[in-house]
């Protein structure tokens, strides 16, 4: 009598068609008389089948993963639109409650003035960015259409209506234990938020609190096994900086971190908005939510938008307001504002090397 290993080997060789004619004859006779053996053979055949299927699927999976990598940039390249403000309009960005009166008044005017006031209303409602979002979206769709045409002529246009529900912006860590600051308009209506950079990989985050008029949002990492960020290298500056001061920002207008520098141009933002600076750094969609630093690497603001009709006029919410806002929300002292001096007296490249650990791309799914 053969032992079970030998029997299994025979079954395997039978299933792979490796038995000699003589062995085959004996084995088939055996099979007829032994239902137990027949069951074992069927089991092995299922297993063999499963191995083959596994191999095929794995190859297919590999191919699809490759396709994913090739299109990933397209899939995620929908940067959150910057808050674009247009000058020369009757409305004005007014901080706080007053602003909402404007929206109401403007909203009423839409009934009265219809088309003419439409653009005014869109702006007054603070949603001029939606206009811009629409433009982004359209560009994306056209791109798909073009790609499509290269392969198949005359595809039904209805199938090309891609819904773009993902946006990207920038954000940065403000505490070691997982608080991340970004712009309100980046994470507006977000269902899921992910932050990512080279050193932390990808982490899921959620909004803890946000303020539409200041255009600020505080996120917190919500991963169970989150080890914490590196030491926050900068300090938050509580006083106001002056025009002429050199400033720089880091952001994700594309999938890699991009540095931009310039100087503070004005104490006030768009049309006298005292909560923001005007700065001379060219920014692009995706830069929203990025940190603004002075020469010593102090955090002095957060990039919020740009003036569409004036070249090189961007805006950043002042760190003083960030400070006041966080303090107003910080009854439980959950957030200890950063006051480190790791960036003072070192060159720009070293500053950036330390800062890039705590600056992230923010991906939002609406």
């Amino acid at each position: 009598m053969k032992n079970s290993r030998e029997i299994d080997e025979i079954i395997e060789r039978y299933c792979f068609g490796e038995l000699t004619p003589e062995e085959l004859r004996i084995f088939e006779q055996w099979l007829e008389n032994d239902p137990q053996m027949l069951a074992s053979v069927n089991d092995f055949l299922s297993l063999k089948n499963a191995f083959e299927n596994y191999r095929e699927r794995l190859a297919l999976k590999k191919k699809i993963e490759r396709i994913h990598e090739e299109v990933e940039y397209d899939l995620f390249n929908a940067p959150a639109p910057l808050k674009v403000v247009k000058s020369g309009k009757a409305t004005k960005v007014i901080f706080g409650k007053e602003r909402s009166y404007f929206s109401i008044a403007a909203a009423i005017s839409i009934f009265l003035l219809s088309a003419v006031s439409l653009s005014l209303w869109i702006f007054g409602n603070g949603s001029s960015k939606n206009q811009n979002a629409y433009r982004e979206l359209r560009r994306e769709v056209e791109k798909i259409k073009k790609n499509q045409k290269e392969i198949i002529k005359g595809i039904n246009a209805d199938d090309v209506k891609g819904e773009l529900k993902q946006f990207t912006g920038t954000g940065f860590a403000i505490t070691k234990d997982g608080y991340v600051l970004t712009s309100y308009h980046v994470v507006q209506d977000a269902k899921q938020i992910y932050i990512s950079n080279e050193s932390v990989g990808q982490l899921q985050a959620e909004v803890v609190y946000s303020d539409k008029s200041l255009d600020l949002a505080m996120l917190k990492i919500k991963e169970d096994s989150f080890p914490g960020f590196k030491e926050i290298p900068f300090a938050l500056k509580k006083s106001i900086s002056d025009p002429g001061e050199k400033v720089f920002t880091l952001g994700f207008p594309r999938e890699d971190l991009v540095f931009g520098d310039g100087s503070i141009s004005s104490y006030t933002g768009f049309e006298g908005d005292t909560t923001a600076y005007q700065i001379s750094i060219p920014v692009n969609p995706g830069n929203s939510g990025g940190p603004l630093f002075d020469n010593q690497g102090n955090l002095i603001g957060i990039i919020s938008g740009k003036n569409e009709s004036v070249e090189g006029a961007s805006f950043a919410v002042k760190s003083k307001w960030i400070n006041d806002y966080i303090n107003s929300k910080n009854d439980d002292n959950a957030i200890l504002l950063p006051a480190n001096k790791l960036l003072i007296g070192v060159d720009r490249a070293t500053q950036i090397k330390r800062l890039k650990e705590v600056v992230f791309m923010v991906r939002v799914f609406n």
Binding site: K48, A50, N53, R55, K61, I64, V71, N147, I152, Q204
Partner: protein, 198 residues
């Protein structure tokens, strides 16, 4: 649902059936949002959404290759329906008693059970079984049954003194794999009735 399919989509299907990877890329790109958003909106993480979407594409490719395959709706609806069903299955695997209503953003078709279901279950069970196995068993079996390496190569690679030792190890490993494979395969089946119950 039996609407006439746009002519262009038939061409897309033909290209896909011929194994045209460029077309597959376009289809992948175009339908990513729809399926991934659905999963994100129904309790999935980004990773789960991506995995399920890729699984959806695999099932789609397999269905395309079946004899007599016929599509009576748009590719988008079809992919959404497959993805929806796969995600539902995944939810059932996590907890057998999910009664939550799904948030749908698209119309969908009931996908009939066919061979691809069995293949999907098989793949899932094999994957689970291999995961549970641990090393060196996993690599030995993968090398022999999946990558098609010979026993001699395996003997060398894993440093066995002779081929018979390696064979003996492989035999023990296979026995364990067989046990857990059939355990997962037979218990893990989510039947169509179960999917349609709620």
């Amino acid at each position: 649902m039996n609407q006439v399919q746009p002519v262009a989509e038939i061409q897309v299907l033909e290209l896909l059936q011929a194994g045209d990877d460029k077309t597959l890329k376009v289809v992948y790109r175009q339908n990513y949002q729809t399926v991934v958003s659905f999963i994100l909106n129904n309790g999935g993480s980004l990773q789960e959404a991506k995995d399920t979407y890729q699984e959806t594409i695999i099932v789609f490719c397999e269905k395309l290759k079946q004899d007599g395959f016929e599509l009576n709706c748009s590719i988008k609806t079809f992919l959404y329906s497959i993805g929806r069903r796969l995600w539902l299955k995944q939810l059932k695997r996590k907890s057998r008693f999910t009664t939550e209503e799904l948030n749908d953003s698209e119309d969908y078709l009931p996908i009939e059970e066919d061979k691809t279901d069995e293949r999907e279950e098989q793949f899932y069970a094999m994957n689970q079984a291999l995961e549970q196995l641990g090393e060196p068993c996993r690599s030995i079996l993968k090398d022999f049954y999946i990558n098609g390496n010979s026993m001699e190569e395996i003997t060398q690679k894993f440093g066995y003194t002779n081929a018979d030792n390696a064979k003996n190890q492989k035999y023990k490993c296979l026995k364990r794999l067989k046990k857990s494979f059939f355990e997962v395969f037979n218990n893990g089946l989510v039947t169509n009735e179960e999917l349609q119950r709620d």
